[in-house]
């Protein structure tokens, strides 16, 4: 985690001698033929040692930041008569743009500066001091580890680009670094913001102009002390230096090279022809792990054209067939950086990938068999080399899910659960997003899943309400953490709508699985539906007071004969009869007044009938409490409305008479629940129909008392008689 590559300090010599030319000439006056006559071409330009050092170190950083956007930090130091520290270890300072701006401010070395006061030593001392400074990552790790904070190591690397005088000069630089480390470690021991250096790698790169003999010899890595190792590279400026730093960045950060071959690309000059190109990419070497393990590396690899030192693995471009979204079995994904970032083939490839296409890569094999081993794909503007699993799976030929537990069930609510998954999709929240209860977004996601699944039948035949379109608005809302008044209203409308359906005896999608014949009777169906709806809402009743109100609404509106047990004992005889009545009612709906009054008569009779029966069971705990109101209901029903406005029953029944056309709406319920002394709810029927706000006109009548009489003055009222409270 905190290896040597966590911190890299670049020290670039800015002394007058670095202004010397590299003597690598670049022709930048490329005259076109037509104009070349009579024009003397400009002299070629040549970079200074400084320019060579800067552009190669920037290239090192570019590759580093592409492959490791975090965790691998660079501190850039320029040294002449003083030290210029161009950035800090902070993550926000880790980009080439900032460094380029700072370098521009420093400018090229001044050849007229007094060479006596200039030295790269200032920079090396500053680099050691800088390595002692704690990074954000080290700080964070130390804070989280607390008592084992000493596990957080402090290691680093100094890459020094300079022009040394001799091997003795090099030794002097090394000694200086070693002494400074010892000194700084003493200082660091007593500080919170500093850490002693445990291990430091010094990489000295001696740069000399082309055509000159080097005064400094190459030297392999050597341990100077337990803390410091040092290596010396003596390199000619120009492309030699560039390829040296390219090799170093690969060594330092465990990178490897892959060359994508056979990339078809349109020719610039001849747009209708296409040639095949190669593009070399760098990435973490683990992307080649499979080749290393299988010993295929040498077979697949070929030597890169540009440098004799490094190897590259060649993978063949497979033209993508479709844009299909597929989940590949991928064992690793590594960020890439093109070696030659602004060459045309490179930018063609990267732009293709950045536009959202993925490319599968084929590993050439001796046998000629085709093995797709990698995939290039971009995510959020970053390109990754995905390693696809090409070895044999240990999970071959597993049993199908249909052969296991629950595999024989055929009516899973697949579509509904799909909808559920869409509703529970995740999205990223900013780091500061923690809610009032101190929960992180992921905790909120879990608690949402908990709420959404409090009542969630898995199969179609286990549920009625979730098979009903009419319940959807309520079912979607009730699971929410908070409800608005409007939401409550929507839920209430849903309930009223169900009441309406029940009134009209609309068929319900009740499963007939497991039951003989046609399944339960209509009113039994509604009872099942109401029970289920209540179960759903009860599961959420504790969430808020508004959720509670939804349950109240259901309890108030629903039909639920409390004597159902008793009725079962009495057999199905009456139910059949009732059912017929119901059907008749429906059939004759349009026949109007006469039929209705006839039916009303029948209802009254039956009601009396049931009354006597209910007296028999009055001791039962299930028997409705306000029995004493029942006779009044029956007898007073036909009285004129003017008489007793204060009495709930009086106030209701006038409407029965006044709006005879709506009797139809009331009677079936009267018939079905004759024992109910409670008229639970009524509402403005017209408003509901028009989908206007109903709230103010809703009234609840409990135990025979109207609790909200606001609609007295209002228009047509339909009564619905419903279950016990």
């Amino acid at each position: 985690m905190f290896s040597v590559s966590h911190k890299t300090a670049f020290v670039v010599d800015h002394c007058p001698y670095m202004a010397e030319s590299s003597r690598q000439l670049i022709e930048c006056d490329m005259l076109t033929k037509s104009r070349s006559q009579g024009v003397i071409p400009l002299a070629p330009v040549s970079k200074s040692l400084w320019t060579c050092a800067i552009e190669c170190s920037m290239e090192y950083c570019r590759i580093l930041f592409d492959v490791y956007p975090t965790w691998k930090l660079v501190n850039y130091i320029v040294s002449d008569s003083e030290v210029h520290i161009l950035n800090s270890w902070k993550q926000e300072d880790q980009n080439t743009h900032e460094l380029m701006a700072a370098l521009a401010a420093v400018g090229p070395p001044n050849p007229r500066q007094d060479p006596e006061c200039c030295s790269v030593l200032h920079g090396l001392v500053a680099a050691v001091e800088s390595l002692c400074k704690i990074t954000e990552y080290q700080h964070e790790s130390r804070t989280t580890l607390m008592d084992t904070a000493d596990r957080v190591a402090n290691r680093g690397r100094i890459i020094c680009l300079t022009n040394a005088k001799s091997d003795t000069h090099v030794r002097m630089l090394e000694d200086c670094v070693l002494e400074t480390i010892q000194e700084q470690n003493k200082r660091a021991a007593g500080s919170d913001r500093l850490m002693p250096i445990q291990q430091c790698e010094l990489v000295l790169v001696h740069i000399y102009p082309q055509g000159e003999e080097t005064l400094v010899s190459d030297r392999q890595k050597k341990e100077l002390s337990s803390m410091l190792s040092s290596e010396v590279h003596s390199v000619r400026a120009g492309r030699y230096l560039a390829s040296k730093l390219n090799v170093l960045v690969q060594q330092h950060f465990d990178l490897a090279s892959t060359t994508i071959t056979n990339i078809p690309m349109k020719e610039e000059q001849h747009a209708n022809t296409s040639a095949n190109y190669d593009v070399e990419l760098l990435h973490h070497r683990d992307a080649h792990m499979e080749f290393i393990k299988s010993g295929d590396l040498h077979m697949a690899g070929s030597t890169s054209r540009d440098s004799g030192l490094k190897e590259t693995v060649t993978l063949k471009w497979c033209t993508p067939r479709t844009n299909s979204v597929e989940l590949h079995y991928c064992t690793g994904a590594y960020r890439i950086s093109p070696v030659d970032v602004n060459s045309r083939p490179s930018s063609c490839l990267t732009n293709f990938l950045l536009n959202g296409r993925s490319v599968l890569l084929e590993q050439p094999r001796k046998s000629g068999s085709k093995v797709i081993s990698h995939m290039l794909s971009s995510h959020g503007g970053e390109i990754f080399l995905h390693v696809l699993n090409s070895t044999r799976s240990t999970l071959e030929d597993p049993p199908s899910i249909s052969e296991g537990c629950g595999g024989r069930v055929t009516d899973y609510r697949i579509t509904d659960f799909g909808e559920f998954m869409r509703e529970n999709r995740l999205t990223p929240f900013p780091d500061s997003m923690i809610d009032a209860a101190g929960r992180t977004p992921v905790e909120r996601a879990k608690s949402q899943l908990e709420r959404y699944t409090r009542y969630w039948p898995m199969i179609i035949s286990q549920t009625t309400i979730f098979n009903m379109q009419a319940v959807v608005p309520l079912a979607n809302l009730i699971v929410k953490d908070t409800l608005t008044d409007e939401d409550v209203l929507t839920c209430q409308k849903t309930v009223y709508n169900l009441v309406d359906m029940e009134r009209k005896s609309d068929p319900l999608p009740i499963s007939t699985v497991g039951s003989r014949g046609k399944g339960p009777k209509r009113d039994e169906q509604y009872r099942i539906m109401w029970n289920e709806l209540e179960t759903l809402v009860k599961a959420h009743v504790g969430t808020s007071e508004r959720h509670q109100r939804v349950l109240e609404c259901i309890s108030a509106c629903r039909s639920k004969p409390p004597e159902e047990e008793e009725r079962k004992k009495r057999g199905r005889k009456r139910e059949d009869k009732e059912d017929k009545t119901e059907k008749n009612g429906k059939d004759t709906e349009e026949k109007g007044w006469t039929t209705d009054s006839e039916r009303l008569k029948g209802v009254m009779e039956r009601e009396k009938d049931e009354q006597s029966e209910c007296e028999i069971i009055k001791d039962s705990p299930d028997s409705p409490e306000p029995l004493n109101k029942k006779p009044r209901l029956a007898t007073e029903e036909q009285q004129p409305p003017e008489k007793s406005k204060d009495d709930a029953l009086h106030s209701i029944h006038p409407y029965l008479q006044l709006h005879a056309s709506h009797l139809d709406d009331v009677i079936p319920h009267l018939c079905r629940h004759p024992l109910q002394a409670l008229w639970s709810a009524c509402f403005c029927y017209h408003c509901l129909k028009d989908q206007r706000t109903v709230c103010a006109n809703s009234i609840y009548i409990r135990n025979g008392l109207i609790t909200n009489t606001s609609l007295y003055s209002s228009i047509t009222v339909t009564l619905l008689a419903l279950g016990s409270l």
Binding site: I54, C56, M58, F65, A104, V341, W456
Partner: protein, 483 residues
């Protein structure tokens, strides 16, 4: 992990074991007894394990082969610890391990992640009396410490061989049972193969992380958004029926005995959350993110083996707070419904993924690299090409000019600025008579500005300051605004 069982069938394995009374056993019989126990255990509780059996003495014979190679293995070596003598014996091989040539390397460490279990049909005292134990330990060390040596406790008999293999089974072949949860919807499952503990950072956090037995779904993501993420391992998630006593009835995938079949049929007919989840994941093309432990996540998805067969599969991400850069920190993923605006759009046309990093990568931001001469030449050519098409290409001309200027300033390459200035001046003199008068003005203005910058004068060499087109009567003053 597939298993290779290596059974020592050398002569020493036929040594009799003294058992009081009853019939006489050879060590080989004990080994076979132990292996039978192991295979029976696998057949009932670890069915999907691939196993191969090799018998060896001085030579070896593959009795039951794998048909191909795998990338990980468990090796169970059953031996009496009599190492043999002379060339080819383990003792000799270990002594000469460093003298071997490349093409005859010692087989350990295996070139793939592996565990080596040595089952000794001998007790520890017996092995320690000679150097057998040391040699066997050396084998484990050669395998990077991956593995373990088991010895028999007490007398060599069926009971102690059973207890020894029992330990191996507990260690390496106990099925991983867990509860898969999505809020209140749950299913008992077996995760196969067993997820092994993972250590990511040996130095700072050396404690291996284990997958918890409560697998909690935290939410859902489209396959396109999760986008072939890298995973540590893949596992089948098989629903299991748990009887009242808490014993596993089976994965329902077998049809051995009639009794079992009927139990399985029952289990097959009662709805199971795994099947529901699998079906919807498959239909919707989504994955479920599942929490495996603190700061450790994985994903559940439908994996099709063939057109007919598909299964619920779980892949484990690297432990840590941000295993997939394009999803961001896992703890910051919350319900989309909590967002002020639906991040997926009202018509599902958008997605909050992938997360865009703060800084663009080099290949996405038109960086300037002049390491190869051709890079520099191309950039100069671009400027000249646009220079010839002034004033139409004023914008691109200055854009390319400024890009070159910035890089030259950063690289301290003032010589280039001077050269390009000269090139532009020459372009100016070469302008045909038909050229727009503005072209000459812009060219000499640009050349002058480059020269000023190349002088290092702090007024003209500011990195962030661009050269703006000259305002001429011809350009109508619009040029500067458009930059």
């Amino acid at each position: 992990m597939p298993t290779v069982v290596l059974l020592d069938s050398s002569l020493s394995m036929t040594r009799p074991v003294s058992v009081e009374g009853s019939e006489e056993f050879q060590r080989k019989n004990l080994a076979v007894h132990g292996l039978t126990m192991l295979f029976e255990h696998m057949a009932t509780n670890y069915r999907l394990e691939f196993t191969s059996l090799v018998a060896f003495s001085s030579l070896w014979e593959l009795l039951v082969p794998f048909s191909r190679d795998y990338n990980t293995l468990q090796v169970v070596l059953v031996t009496d610890g009599a190492l043999g003598i002379g060339r080819g014996s383990l003792r000799h091989s270990l002594q000469t391990v460093k003298q071997r040539v490349d093409d005859k390397k010692f087989p350990l460490p295996f070139p793939f992640p592996s565990k080596l279990y040595v089952m000794c049909i001998a007790n520890a005292e017996e092995l320690q009396a000679t150097d057998s134990m040391d040699n066997l330990e050396q084998l484990i060390n050669l395998n990077g410490g991956e593995g373990q040596i088991y010895t028999m406790e007490g007398p060599l008999c069926l009971k102690s061989v059973q207890s020894m293999f029992g330990k191996l089974i507990d260690q390496a072949y106990s099925p991983f049972h867990a509860v898969l949860r999505c809020g209140n919807l749950t299913s008992d499952v077996q995760v196969f193969p067993r997820p092994e503990p993972v250590t990511i950072d040996e130095e700072v956090d050396p404690i291996p992380k284990t997958v918890q037995t409560d697998l909690e779904i935290v939410g859902f993501i489209e396959i396109g958004d999760i986008s072939s993420p890298p995973v540590l391992s893949r596992h089948l998630v098989l629903p299991i029926a748990v009887s009242k006593e808490g014993d596993e009835i089976g994965t329902g995938a077998t049809d051995d005995t009639e009794e079992e079949t009927s139990t399985n049929q029952m289990a097959g007919k009662s709805p199971n959350f795994c099947v529901l989840l699998h079906g919807s994941l498959k239909v919707e093309g989504m994955v479920a993110l599942v929490q495996l432990g603190p700061d450790w996540f994985g994903m559940l998805y439908s994996q099709a083996d063939s057109k007919k067969k598909s299964n619920l599969m779980m892949s484990l991400f690297d432990p840590g707070s941000e295993p997939l850069p394009w999803l961001g920190r896992m703890s910051q993923l919350g319900p989309a419904s909590d967002a002020a605006e639906n991040p997926y759009g009202e018509d599902d046309s958008k997605s909050p993924f992938p997360i865009q990093p703060k800084h663009k990568r080099s290949y996405a931001q038109n960086v300037t690299v002049w390491i190869k001469a051709s890079g520099l030449q191309t950039d100069v050519q671009k400027i000249l090409r646009n220079a010839k098409k002034l004033p139409e290409k004023t914008q691109t001309f200055y854009k390319e000019l400024n890009r070159l200027r910035k890089a030259a300033l950063a690289f301290g390459f003032w010589e280039l600025l001077k050269s390009v200035a000269e090139l532009l001046e020459r372009e100016c003199t070469l302008l045909p008579d038909s050229a727009h008068p503005d072209a000459a003005f812009q060219l000499s203005h640009a050349a002058q500005q480059l020269k000023l910058a190349s002088s290092g004068d702090s007024k003209y060499a500011v990195f962030e300051q661009n050269i703006t087109p000259m305002l001429t009567d011809f350009s109508g003053g619009g040029g500067a605004d458009r930059i």
